[in-house]
Amino acid sequence: MGSKKESNFLNMVLTLSLVAIIAALALGGVYVVTKAPIALAKKKKLEAAIKKVLPEFDSISTKKFLPPGGGDSLTFYIASMKGKTVGSAIKTYTMKGFGGRIDIMVGMLNDGTINNTAVLSHKETPGLGDKMDIKKSDFSVQFRKKNPSSFKLKVTKDGGDVDAITAATISSRAFCDALTRAYDTFESQQANLNLDNK
């Protein structure tokens, strides 16, 4: 050893292949080991969000529906307790945020009443729009136990019932937009949801 290997063609190809093979093996190994934990971490996050927005449940079924206004389909996690549906967690979104897309999980009881909401991801301005997150302010509390049939999902400035976040009307409007999308889809798909309404 001591002196470096000569750079002839065979040497170069051999070394590079060897390095690549070892790297691929190492990566494959790590991938196999971390695959289950990664899936678990993702599932946990989703479950935590569903649990947060719905009353207690013991099983979940998943359905996808297109919103009546057009756009990407929304995922419904229909939760039931002892065979009876207790509500649906709807993964909804809006493109109208200050920073673009916002994903929100909305829990709706069988009659369409909003049980709770949870912001899944957003790019809103820190200190302003990010107040829609329950960790930052109480903005989202006002939606709890409100039914959009009587509670107008619009900010007060636009003639609705929602108190906007100070200086972040755009983010507040976007939040309402996402909720409206969830509610409209929920209403239009009543027949396909098989909810235990009575």
Binding site: F98, G127, L128, K157, D158, T166, A167, T169, I170
Partner: protein, 335 residues
């Protein structure tokens, strides 16, 4: 270092002429100052005094203890920055925020670059944008101008005309529906509208501008290019759809348009040297302002537009440098 042969704008030969210019600008701002005191009362005096004391103090401390150079707080430039800063904030802004603004304007935008004549960006505007982004709630609660009052208590607040239009159009209303909510042009001219302290009265600002033109402190190129561009651009939009775009007069009289065009875009340190360059600079500010006002998230774009064009000034100066005979148009023959 050959700093004695090459230096950036402005090419100020003596301290005396700087002083004369700076105090000329201060004098030109007196009408707007008086109007702001008339409408916003004691609060306006508080903002003006606090901004001035804080700016002069920071300039003195930094020159004496950090840069350890000559102290030139009496040249009037810090005072001009202070008054412009005060003009650019709502009159009920908490005192500590005004002090932060003064620190940003003097400490960051001016002294970090070496002081007067070396700053790239207009100090008062850097401070305004810094404050606007840092304290969005306080920087957009505009007290209603209600005539002189001695109280320091919170006055009722309302939106600026630009804010009303942006909000209204955003909510799907049309211009004719919004008409009753926004002030009339006569009110705009006098200053009866919500806004930053110094921007409310068009007449007072124009008076100051005329004085500076008369005293040759500024030339017509930048303000005329900027305002002309705004008029042309907004007229086109208004002509296409008068229900969803505000008319050019509205754009001219509201917000920081005149304050920016007369007092801030014309700042000789951060604007181009040649008249050709100044026209390009003014046109650029006009276009950017309308873009931000009409399509951006912020209702007012003048300060952003001026800062953005400040950044382009070195390039404009290169493009409009009088060419020396025999010099190839090569770009990199420096140092």
């Amino acid at each position: 270092m050959n700093k004695f042969t090459i230096s950036g704008s402005p090419h100020i030969k003596s301290d005396e002429s700087t002083k004369k210019i700076m105090y000329g600008v201060v004098f030109a701002m007196v009408p707007a100052m008086l109007v702001s005191i008339y409408f916003f009362g004691f609060q306006a005096i508080r903002v003006l005094v606090l901004a001035s004391i804080a700016s002069l103090f920071f300039e003195w401390v930094i020159q004496k203890y950090l840069i350890k150079g000559p102290v030139t707080i009496d040249d009037g430039s810090a005072l001009v920055t202070a008054i412009l800063l005060a003009f650019n904030v709502p009159s009920n802004l908490p005192s500590w925020m005004i002090i932060i603004g003064a620190l940003i304007a003097i400490g960051m935008a001016k002294m970090s670059f070496g002081g007067l004549g070396r700053n790239i960006f207009n100090p008062a505007l850097v401070a305004r944008v810094f404050l606007l982004i840092s304290f969005p709630v306080q920087m957009t609660s505009w007290p209603k101008p209600e005539g002189f009052s001695i109280g320091l208590s919170d006055a009722t607040t309302g939106a600026t005309p630009l804010g009303i239009v942006k909000e209204g159009l955003g909510a799907g209303k049309t211009m004719s529906q919004l008409k009753p909510e926004i002030p009339t042009y006569i009110q705009d001219l006098m200053g009866q509208m919500g806004g930053s302290m110094g921007e409310v009265s068009a007449i007072a600002l124009i008076l100051g501008g005329l004085y500076m033109l008369w005293k040759k402190i500024i030339t017509w190129h930048i303000p005329v290019a900027m305002l002309g561009t705004v008029v042309v651009f907004t007229s086109i939009l208004w002509g296409i759809d008068s229900e969803h775009f505000a008319d050019p007069v509205f754009h001219l009289l509201t917000g920081g348009m005149l304050l920016g065009a007369i007092f801030m875009a014309t700042d000789m340190v951060s604007s181009p040297m040649t008249h050709g360059g100044q026209i390009v600079f003014g046109v650029g500010i006009g276009i950017l302002t309308v873009l931000i006002r009409v399509w951006g998230a912020y209702p007012e774009g003048v300060s952003f537009a001026i800062l953005l064009m400040n950044a382009v000034v070195p390039l404009i100066n290169k493009g409009f440098k009088p060419k020396r005979f025999g010099l190839k148009p090569a770009v990199s023959k420096k140092s």
